[in-house]
Symmetry: D2
Subunit: 401 residues, 4 copies
């Protein structure tokens, strides 16, 4: 049919096909990462795949638990990564399906079909992103070849204290030996350790947004560690893609509510990080709120400053800490961070404000919970672990509006 | 044309007209307010107006500044009010227009066209809702006939201290005599004074959601008044209908941000109310956040309990305070208030939670900012001022989803 | 604790309780429906329920399948109904639970706990709203006492042709005898039949929005019945409260898509209604779209006018048809219906526009899919069936913004 | 591989590789790990700018009217473009301001401050994107140096017939000579002409989504050109960033409506394109709808197929037309395009469906109105005009959820 129609109704000159244009193109193949695929595509006549050369990349990547939002976000970020190519994807309940059938927005990517994790051939990969639910992750990672680099996006290796893990997650830790090896992946804080790690426990979204401003201020003894009050707001994608009544559009749109008051599982992770920074036990007030939006997270943090410290001291110290960072940015004085301004990007924007109550300050930090709060930071970490510049593949600017 | 077509194409039997049905109706006109219009409509053949008998109501109402969202909300609430009928509407920039052309969702209501406030005939009204912007309101109310009952939804009469007014609003108070007369309209707290008032300053939305839980707890000395930290979240309708870039759909959807940090004009109103309750000067930390939703407001309030007091004491005292109230409701222990659960209604839902930090509690209250936070409470107040049950016309259940 | 605190910390004068106010109230109990509860409440000291006098109402109502959105909407609408009181609620999977635990926004209503339908005592009710899924409804209604009035919101009795039912729903009709008795509940079109019906098949949301404008125009031979093209848009609540991945907030927000192209089960219902009107078999093009909103439905209908007919003829005829209707409204010429302008109300707004293509017209109608498209029209029908004015309890104005 | 790339594409000194960084950077923080920008920053100690080497890029770009959404989108897309660097930005009302103050989400970009267009130095640029409002654009482009390549995103050069321009835009065309030179920038249809153009009139968003499927089908005589009915749905960003009451969050959220019925200014552009394709005058029915979402556009197109043609013929022909295209994609049979699946990307997804009415088909196409519908296609065109692969800088995958 197709050829018949082409004969009967020849295309106008104006309807030049892409591969014909390519031959006319004097500057073709100019070597930039983003244009490589065009020249590949111009050599073939089959349906073009934007990312077909996965197998030719330097580092072969596996994505375990690829059928959730963090898995999809890994794929989106790697689409323009010059060195990492996905060669393995697992998803137990969707085994045998193409990734594009599960996430149609990425159907143009040339990816392996998903397999059950028990059927995965790990000899084909150099590193894995593990996007599995907590609880099952410890055993799976324990079973992986020891040579693999692993970034685990679950909570299973974030808590050093395995008793605390059991307390908050309701089951004993199943890989205590690995736990000792795991490095906590808060990139800007533990960059050196991450560079040398084999297994990185990627931080939770709330803990990332909270520790990035608080850890340096606590280390520098600029704020008190008692009565730290964190009012956090998150988009719904943090809850994942599981079908739950509570996360239906109709239940979420045009309204908000607190949840997990005092009981959210990110509490011990936050307190571990802040306790490390202060060399003392820190207990925080942490109240998350579910927002009518898909992506984005803000932590509004109410703190008491140390005696003699003022808000300019906090500002200056955060500035000195982060002035060379690409992804963690202190805004100009008085400028309020908006979650819209980081959507789809790996940035963490923050600022600090004088409170009306003497001696108190308000710290605000925003991230995209799926990027800096999950898959973006995971990629940042794996870049480091594999010896690449940590921003490789991560320089997406925020999508607004 | 219409009659011609009817002749040419007679209606089937099944296409019985409403007024014909009425005659068949054995229980017609059973006296309830909600069915009055049907029987009226059945006697006429003109285009039916749901609320045509405004002039026959007991109390003639004027709405000043009717072209904003709080004005529209007054109209919506009065649509089923058995005693209040709107006989005057003003809107300077929309003078001469019909209300239905400005708010098409209310076009079925039989209302007077809008006039400029300077052209208004106040002899035709018994009471007014004043929905004008702050700053202009004092002079206009000063010019009204003294016999009129007034509920002012602006901020112009909320602050007893006229110096404080000048400090926060940047201009001298223009009606200091009236200020002395004005009663603050937080219904459940000042019900008796409101009943006997002529001029009521209707509270702001944030102050309503904050004072309803805090005032009784402070009066009862159950919480400390230092370090009260309020993280408040509001829908966009609170910003009104003015065309501002910052409130465009594209700027608001799928994101959130803090605003007016330490400088929001509701601060002195909140502090006035809490200071009254404690008989001492209270300074609060108050940080409002703009949410991607049209209606709804939550205040998440972090407090320190008085020595020896625990969270059950707070719960029990709020319960004893509000157990007979129709609109202010303490939820069952552990149940989290959602803003969706008050949308379109005059309810304030609240609850109190133990914090992780010893001695602290978290109080959450939610309202619809346009109803209990504005027009609903205004109507509740005018009901009282005119001697009607305060819930008259206000028993709309929340619209969810 | 409560009484102790009251003793220890006496309330200020300003903190007058509601029941005290009532005694001061000179106009109390003026007999209006909306204020009845206030006077009841004033006599009791227990926790007030807005709608406690269900048992005293004239008509005892059962709601079968009360745990879905249409069930909740029935409860919302009946909250202010002067004659209908809910005395039975069923929900098989939530049997034993209170309605307020399933729909917290209605927790103030005094309602019976939900029971399994098999345990329901139908001797306690005069009429039922049946909000069950299609497929199970026929047998349940077949088993009800014959004296009960029934409005069925499912699709199970909408198609007169039981073969067509089997074809579209994939199972044989289980109550063909009842099918003969069932009256299709498109109120404005079949008002007389509905008044005399025992079992009403309440129309689907799409069919309601489409038939209200098209049926009269087809009956009057003003439009052609071939090539009627309907592009319909619906909010997500039409999909119900079941937990489905496709209806998660994250999947729906900020995007739209067509679904059920040519295969939506409302097709045979629409075609049945239009075929009846034209006395010939009508096939339509019907493409529904899922919108990022909870409530609201628009049908944009592209039609060819009959020879010699122009758009003014359509306008005039719709005007003559609906000018006496309370809920179906033809807007002024040129005014575009918005779904926001019917949210929460029982209105259907419509208008008709000249197309650019000669001889064609564009008809737009909007409804709230949960009110006029479901529970509102169901109540309108039961009002008629029970001999009350059909607008009883339905005069809610739209909620905007 | 890494060293090979270094040979083929020599890195700047600033492009320190990760393994070098490690040696230089024994602990964290001070040095920086972040490719070009970071290492530059580490030498200067200034605040790091992600894209500071604009001046070193091959092609110097001006953005006229940079303060609107399409201007911001150009900046976002160019952030990772290897050859285009922005050296001039104009915005008359925001002259003197930094771009980051107007669009904080792009504050990390190193961009020139905005100037008034009259003060712009065009000797510093090789090409411009013109994002000005229609009406003012013709004169400004007329005044530009003749050597500049221009992609105009306004409507000012889209209509070849200047009388038609005057009729729809209410003012005479001010640059009729330039109009003759302008090439219509529908890339996949007019690629060859665009490659050789100096002035490209970038298509409107609706016309892009409509012509991409219809032009080839009309050229191939597979569909009738009479009675083409287009029901189009757009996100709000298409209305721009101007402060208008109608586009406030509160007016748009949770609702939809038709607008510009038969009168939308994209009508003559659509009809011009379809008339060209058919060599006859085509009149379409076009009804746009405003959706509660920021980005995204769907055109649902109802067509009559030519005699003897079936829906598989349409599918096969679209497949043969677009199978080599990177950005225009025909989905697998039966798969429905969603606007969410193109958000933030330059893709146009389409598919074709059999209608219920014999001989008719339904065509659906979706784009992101700000990318393929505006700035993305503009960049695609300028890539071609400057001799680069057309996908350069455009390979962003869609952002979902």
């Amino acid at each position: 049919m197709s050829s018949m129609v082409v004969k009967l109704v020849p295309l106008e000159v104006g309807f030049l096909r892409k591969h014909e244009v390519k031959r006319l193109n004097p500057r073709q193949g100019s070597g930039c990462v983003l244009s490589v695929r065009a020249s590949v595509a111009s050599k073939t006549l089959e349906y073009p795949k934007t990312n077909r050369e996965q197998l030719d990349k330097d580092v072969r990547i596996g994505v375990l638990g690829a059928s959730g939002y963090t898995g999809a976000e890994i794929v989106r970020l790697l689409a323009n990564h010059p060195h990492f190519g996905i060669t393995l994807m697992t998803a137990d309940r969707k085994a045998g399906q193409s990734f594009g059938s599960v996430f149609p927005h990425l159907f143009t990517q040339d990816l392996p079909d998903m397999v059950a994790v028990k059927d995965a051939d790990f000899s084909s990969v150099d590193a894995v992103f593990c996007c599995l639910p907590h609880g099952t992750t410890q055993e799976i990672i324990k079973g992986l070849p020891k040579g693999l680099k692993v970034v685990d996006l679950s909570a299973d290796f974030r808590l050093r204290n395995i008793n605390e893990y059991e307390e908050w997650y309701g089951q004993p830790h199943k890989a205590p030996e690995l736990q000792k090896e795991a490095v906590y992946g808060l990139t800007e804080v533990l960059r050196y350790e991450i560079q040398n790690a084999r297994l990185v426990a990627n931080p939770g979204c709330y803990p990332t947004s909270i520790q990035l401003p608080l850890v340096p201020l606590i280390k520098a003894h600029l704020i008190e560690t008692k009565n730290i009050i964190i009012d956090a707001k998150s988009g719904v994608s943090g809850a994942g893609r599981g079908a739950k009544e509570a996360n239906l559009y109709t239940e979420i749109a045009e309204g908000l509510h607190s949840y997990g008051i005092t009981k959210h599982r990110h509490v011990p992770e936050i307190e571990q990080g802040l306790s490390d920074a202060s060399n003392s036990e820190v207990t925080v007030s942490f109240t998350p709120h579910l927002m009518p939006m898909s992506r984005g997270m803000q932590s509004t943090i109410y703190v008491e400053m140390a005696p003699g410290v003022n808000v300019n001291d906090l500002y200056d110290y955060l500035n000195s800490t982060y002035q060379d960072e690409e992804f963690v940015r202190l805004l100009e004085k008085g400028v309020v961070p908006h979650t819209q301004h980081v959507r789809g990007s790996n940035y963490c924007l923050m600022n600090v404000f004088q409170d009306r109550i003497l001696g108190r300050a308000i710290i605000i930090s925003v991230i995209d919970n799926l990027v800096k709060g999950a898959s973006g930071q995971a990629l940042q970490n794996l870049n480091l672990m594999m010896g690449y510049p940590e921003n490789t593949g991560l320089q997406y600017q925020p999508l607004f509006p």
